[in-house]
């Protein structure tokens, strides 16, 4: 059984001493070899804690985990020889060149000396960094940095890859480019465990999605399953006041099989047939003389998944996500300039 599973975790729990917050509680995970599994959740949900335990950089309070049959507690070095770790918290050295970074990692993985340089060149080429390989990483853009970070995780050709929010803070173009790279790796047979805040990302890359919040698994399934549970589209109706929103929600309650959600003076409906339902909503609001300030149809966001799974918004977490992205975006912008 351990042979077929690249990652097997059972009952992992972790409470950080500072603040006593339960970062992970009774967390189970199985990733079959060669598959991509996504760990989806907002900031502070426990995604990074899970990845850190599985990559041996953090000890769990309880539970067990094996990576390719190596136990993370009993044989951490065995685990480290079969994994690559990349993402928001595992960094590259700003003051070294791209080549020097990869060379350092190759040495520390104890690859034979001549093959270290060849491997570094090969990866720089593969990630479109051949021209920048001799430049100090400080001068790289955010996207280049993430690609180098991923390259560094691949130096020793690990069969299992942990990607902790690989595209958080990246511009859409760099995000697409990184997705292509990850897809290429997977088609080459690498097992990937990916954490993300973006439903779209999990949807594109992952066969299987585990949704976590407050350290607990709250849903598990294929992207199609999760979306089917949710409904295809979200209809936002911006009314003139919270009272108007309330009466509009009442008026439109039969358009969705899920209860409408009120956010200030906005009504949010999860619907199956977006345009048709929107037209019907407009007709009814017009007929009942509700003034409409705005209307939007959008793909369900991670927040909508949460709304539908837990019945409540993760407001504090969402704010943290937005704030985090702002600062990261600023940093990335500075880097490119």
């Amino acid at each position: 059984m351990a042979e077929q599973l690249a990652v097997a975790a059972r009952g992992l729990s972790k409470t950080y001493p500072k603040g006593g917050v339960k970062a992970l509680e009774d967390f189970d995970l199985e990733v079959p070899a060669g598959q991509v599994v996504g760990l989806l959740g907002p900031n502070g949900a426990g995604k990074t804690t899970a990845v850190r335990i599985l990559s041996t950089t953090l000890r769990p309070d309880a539970g067990t985990a094996q990576i390719m049959g190596h136990d993370v507690i009993a044989d951490p070095d065995g685990v480290r020889r079969v994994i690559g770790l990349a993402g928001q918290y595992a960094a590259v050295d700003e003051n070294l060149t791209g080549f020097e970074n990869l060379e350092m990692v190759g040495r520390l993985c104890h690859l034979p000396r001549p093959s270290v340089n060849a491997r570094a060149d090969e990866l720089l080429e593969q990630f479109g960094l051949a021209d920048a390989g001799g430049r100090v990483v400080k001068t790289y853009s955010g996207g280049m940095r993430r690609r180098l970070d991923l390259a560094a995780a691949l130096v020793a050709r690990p069969p299992v890859l942990f990607l902790d929010e690989p595209t958080t803070g990246l511009d859409p173009q760099s995000r697409l480019a990184l997705w292509d790279v990850i897809e290429a790796l997977v088609s080459g047979g690498t097992t990937v465990l990916l954490t993300t805040q973006y439903l779209e990302e999990a949807d594109r890359l992952c066969k299987d999605i585990v949704v976590i919040d407050h350290g607990r698994i709250i849903a598990h399934g294929t992207p199609a399953n999760l979306k089917a549970d949710l409904g295809a589209t979200v209809l936002d109706l911006m009314m003139t006041s919270p009272e108007a929103a309330q009466s509009a929600a009442l008026l439109l309650s039969d358009l969705s099989d899920k209860p409408a959600h009120l956010e200030g003076s906005t009504v949010e409906l999860t619907v199956d047939e977006g345009p048709k339902t929107a037209a019907e909503a407009l007709r009814r609001l017009d007929a009942s003389e509700h003034e409409l300030l705005g209307l939007a149809l959008r793909e369900p966001s991670l927040d909508d998944v949460f709304l539908s799974l837990t019945g409540q918004r993760t407001e504090v977490d969402t704010e943290a996500v937005v704030a985090g992205q702002k600062t990261k975006g600023r940093r990335a912008a500075k880097e490119t300039s």
């Binding site: 480290r80 020889r81 079969v82 960094a91 003051n95 993985c109 104890h110 047979g189 690498t190």
Partner: protein, 270 residues
């Protein structure tokens, strides 16, 4: 992209030792490259001790009577020790920076010898300290420092001081790994550095201090290192072979205490 596995086999004890050394060299090399890329840091790390030399030599020195009459000869061994202690404190800063940037997180997920992160850091700071001692020797000679014409004793004095600095680096490693960020790490080293360097025999004879402070100033490890360096560099009225041995004992004792604590802290640092 293939998944041809099992790049490195399970290591034996000998291979482990060899890897620990190779990894220390790799990490040291990486740290030294950083120094080369930021020459300002190296330059300014010599500015502060030079300021102290000028301050004590020309501003305070005239008011401090010492045995043998030459204050600059009394001062310079103290300056050397103070300088290597400040240099040792940069271990805290370096590790805090690597912790904050996430580089330590990458290191911890690699199949490397984990002690190499700390030994590579301390080796780097030791090399930098050696460089600063050479610079400070030149500065000392320029302002009238006249050590005994015995290169071997001078070299031994440097070894004693560097070993002392090396032992402190492991204590500062714990500070760096416990600090919330690199700025705070630097601030956290001051309350350790200041009482130890100034309530010592580095700049003034202990006899000039109040009685309660004398007891501390005479016996604390910084004073022992200063007295040892002064004995080996200047000799004469400062000849004190016992201080050399006591200082070496302090350094070894501190190493035995702080190396395991620092390694343990590294394993748990987040």
């Amino acid at each position: 992209m293939t998944t041809s596995v099992a790049h490195s086999p399970r290591p034996k004890a000998m291979a482990r030792a060899r890897w620990a050394i190779a990894d220390t060299v790799t990490v040291t090399k990486r740290n030294l490259i950083r120094f080369m890329r930021i020459p300002e840091a190296l330059f300014f790390s010599t500015v502060q001790p030079i300021m102290f030399v000028l301050l004590f030599r020309y501003v305070f020195g005239g008011a401090i009577p010492v045995a043998g009459g030459s204050y600059v000869n009394y001062l310079m061994p103290g300056i050397f020790v103070q300088t290597v202690i400040f240099g040792a404190a940069s271990t805290a800063l370096g590790l805090a920076e690597d912790l904050q940037s996430g580089l330590l997180e990458r290191f911890r997920a690699l199949p490397m010898a984990h002690s190499a992160v700390l030994s590579g850091r301390t080796m780097t700071d030791l090399i930098r300290n050696a460089f600063v001692i050479v610079v400070m020797t030149a500065v000392g000679l320029a302002v009238g420092f006249r050590p005994m014409p015995n290169p071997l004793d001078y070299f031994l004095a440097c070894i004693v001081m560097m070993l002392f600095a090396f032992s402190l680096m492991w204590a500062f490693a714990i500070v760096g790994l416990s600090a919330p960020n690199s700025e705070t790490a630097q601030l956290m080293t001051f309350p350790i550095i200041f009482p130890l360097t100034f309530a010592s025999t580095a700049f003034v004879p202990a006899a000039s201090m109040p009685g309660w402070l004398q007891a501390f100033a005479k016996n604390q490890p910084v004073s022992q290192a200063v007295d040892a360096a002064r004995s080996l560099m200047v000799g004469g009225p400062y000849h004190d072979t016992k201080a050399v041995w006591v200082s070496l004992a302090w350094s070894l004792g501190l190493l035995m205490l702080f190396v395991p604590l620092a390694v343990r802290r590294y394993r748990r640092a987040t």
